[in-house]
Assembly symmetry: C2
Amino acid sequence: MYKTALLMSGLVALFLSACQTLGTPSITGDTPTTSTQPIVILIHGGAGSARAGGMPEEDEMAYKAALSDALNEGYQILEQGGSSLDAVQAAILLLEDNPLFNAGRGSVLSSDGTVSMDASIMNGADLDAGAIAGVKTIRHPILAARAVMQDSPHVMLSGQGAQVFADDIGLQVENPDWFITEPRREQLQRVKDRQNNLKISSKQASDYFGTVGAVALDRHGNLAAATSTGGMTNKKWDRIGDSPIIGAGTYADNNSCAVSATGWGEYFIRATVARDICARVQWTGADVQTAGDQEIFEIVELGGQGGVLVIDTAGNYAFSFSTAVMFRGARTEIGEEVAIFKEHGNKEHDN
Amino acid sequence: MYKTALLMSGLVALFLSACQTLGTPSITGDTPTTSTQPIVILIHGGAGSARAGGMPEEDEMAYKAALSDALNEGYQILEQGGSSLDAVQAAILLLEDNPLFNAGRGSVLSSDGTVSMDASIMNGADLDAGAIAGVKTIRHPILAARAVMQDSPHVMLSGQGAQVFADDIGLQVENPDWFITEPRREQLQRVKDRQNNLKISSKQASDYFGTVGAVALDRHGNLAAATSTGGMTNKKWDRIGDSPIIGAGTYADNNSCAVSATGWGEYFIRATVARDICARVQWTGADVQTAGDQEIFEIVELGGQGGVLVIDTAGNYAFSFSTAVMFRGARTEIGEEVAIFKEHGNKEHDN
């Protein structure tokens, strides 16, 4: 039934093609390495259905401003010769603190009314990676993931243990209530009411998938990817979604590409979306747009929904998503663009 | 420094080639579907260094007997037309109850002296999957993973939440002490002493990677994979390894292959080993032995160690491992074989 679903590539018209190699940058002067290496950062702030009646203009402006701020925060690091790892982390720090997005403060609520956050980060240069799942008081889950990568012998920590690790290294914590916003309380109640009243199958989709993510390419030619989320509204049993799973929600490998995903996590885990896209680039010769579109098409065929950011070491990049909305943005040496709806200058692929 | 490492494919001599298609089976009569569809089950019980002075003969016999029992348990299900999912589950149930192996009773101990078990299972027919991480009282973690797949909307549950889920559906639990054996207590002490005395880097490898796993092909042509483990001795902070990560320790897809891994989990997560092997089969045309060997070679290059079981829908199968020892076995319509050391009839690949 999803055979006819159209996959949307974002920002394509605005950049001629989101997938083409970015032109030779014109930056000169004190850039630390060669000026022929393009720098790019992409971010997303979730994907999902369009709200009935459309989005109020002030909301749209607020989302776009937040996306723009996060892009600029990361891009400045790239411009100064900083690493793609630092750039994606910096972008996500802003989005985690912004209650508009489902990550950090403003995370969606689990069935028990608390937040439970997941994050991961990966370095394309050496495949080093870190992830945390199910933390409740760490202000910036992405910093915990980075610390797991750099300061522990492990890749993935969870629950209470992850909290202890974060405390041991002195990461900032907040009271659990600090993360909870009134709109998220109301959202949880709506989801519970709907499930109770309509006896919706427990496998029924959420209609919106939060999560924030970023991928970047730095002047040294290194890729990085990072993802942070509060998961799925009304989740139970310490469910872990795709965001902290290396290969599902996040992947980066200089031999292929970097990916951050947002969507119905269970499907993204089953299809190992992030690594699969990179494997398509690496082993089938697909460009980043084709690889992303093919993978999102498979997700839709399985019954899921969502979207991805994809970038390769030449600076080619793509947004692929099956949803009506994907909060997204790109910043390159040509300029910056942010978009929300599929209508904004998208090419449609009839896969 | 690992460039010269030789990758070992097990049982090759014994089956001419572990990688060739198994001949036409001669079973006739009341098998539920066509008799031309081969059935195969492979299992592993961990991999690692050979013990100095070799393994006492009685230990070797005990391991081999346990592997043989588990193979037969799974194979009987396949012979009767049962599913590959049920076959891999049945094999793992026996290994989880056997204190020789690092899964279920006899799991290695975490830094705090408790067990913390992970498991996952995947159905190649529809990519459905289930996993649990960090459970402490569920007698059979593999049954919890199966229940997550079939009886929850999620793919992965963790910690206390996973325990609550298991309790809700009535899975058998045991007192935490039931899982702990004296040899594992001594092993934890040895690891702690060694790390304290020698100031071994926290990134230093374990010398032995437990974990049990199985992959199977049934008469309906469906693949399945499952993995269960107590993780890494002396682990901290609720570390999650590769075993419960779909795409890292476990993967099954009828379009390519099924894989169960055992090894230094952090490396297996970073390389998404299980899915990568299947992606190589699917997109590079590699046979299962080549795909497994290539992937294990990459793990060694990264600094890791371990091994995998791989099987495709034609019944081609392979063991690839970089360690001196891999407890392993195969049962086909031709016969059964179990092996431990690399010397037992292995071909060596000079990748």
